[in-house]
């Protein structure tokens, strides 16, 4: 077996991931990506799936990982798929009694990631479109985060959209001034 084994630390990260999902959507995406990378590393270094070969698995208190509020899991959601996969391993190893109930932390219903930067940038956004633009942007960023996009991608989307709007607005104001002159 390769050096990428499913260890206690990995489980701890998963537990932290599930806990974080309720608190901070953006940070959860980071953990998800890290776990996804780990899983991929395992998958590429072994002939079978990493999940079929986890001989050094530790027992995880089921309640710690899965006792999150019951919600309807979003189809195709990365977190849903990932937890389903982990649940399958636990069942297979007989290490934990995992129910079939879809206990998945709410991702879709979370509010938009708190982008403090967006609040700081708001005075630079033209007043005429500030409220609808920022509202739409926040709604869009929340949808991106819920779709499992990385924290960097979400941040980049926020920064680029504000920057483009400010530049476009400044350019059209300048053009108007030139026309008047």
């Amino acid at each position: 077996m390769s050096g990428h084994q499913w260890t206690t630390a990995d489980y701890e990260r998963l537990i932290r991931l599930v806990e974080l999902t309720r608190e901070n959507l953006t940070e959860t995406s980071e953990h998800l990506r890290a776990l996804g990378d780990l899983r991929n590393a395992e998958a590429h270094s072994m002939p079978h799936s990493v999940l079929d070969n986890c001989s050094t698995m530790v027992s995880v208190p089921t309640a710690t990982v899965f006792d999150t509020p019951l919600i309807e899991p979003a189809p195709g959601n990365r977190l849903t798929d990932f937890i389903e996969e982990i649940r399958g391993v636990l069942r297979m190893q007989g290490r934990a009694d995992v129910s079939d109930a879809p206990r998945v932390p709410s991702v879709v219903t979370q509010a938009a990631p708190v982008t403090r930067w967006l609040d700081l940038a708001s005075p630079f956004i033209p007043k005429a479109v500030r409220e609808p633009f920022l509202g739409d942007l926040r709604e869009d960023l929340a949808a991106m985060a819920a779709a499992g996009r990385s924290r960097t991608a979400v941040r980049w989307a926020a920064v680029s959209q504000v920057a483009i709007l400010v530049v476009r607005w400044a350019w059209s104001s300048l053009a108007r001034l030139v026309r008047v002159a």
């Binding site: 739409d136 869009d140 949808a143 059209s172």
Partner: protein, 113 residues
């Protein structure tokens, strides 16, 4: 006196087209444009919409629904005006007239082969 119908850019045409028959808010317009294969960024949209409004091609109103993800920011709904509908109709007529001589794609492929 009849109001002069302004000429539309491609982005203005696309935005107006999404508003025909239905009022929409910014993100909804952006998503509809994506579906139609005419992507426009939110920043681009919010430089186009005030221009259309200034020209009298669309009107807008504040929405009153509360959406958690928006953190208190209201939605702004845009609706096409009579002048806007006239402008998009004229733009469509021009596009059809200009593109009529362009041969069908299948024929073009045959010629090129």
């Amino acid at each position: 006196m009849a109001q002069k119908v302004p000429e539309l850019s491609r982005a203005e045409m696309a935005v107006l087209a999404t508003l025909v028959g239905k009022e929409r808010y910014g993100l909804e317009i952006r998503n509809r444009l994506r579906e139609l294969g005419q992507p426009l960024s939110l920043a681009g949209l919010y430089t186009t919409l005030p221009r259309l409004e200034k020209q009298g091609l669309v009107t807008s109103r504040w929405g009153d629904e509360e959406v958690g993800a928006r953190q208190g920011a209201r939605r702004r709904y845009y609706e096409i005006t009579g002048l806007g509908a006239k402008a998009i109709k004229e733009a469509k007529a021009v596009v059809i007239r200009v593109l009529r001589p362009v041969p069908a794609l299948a024929h073009t492929t045959e010629v090129m082969a």
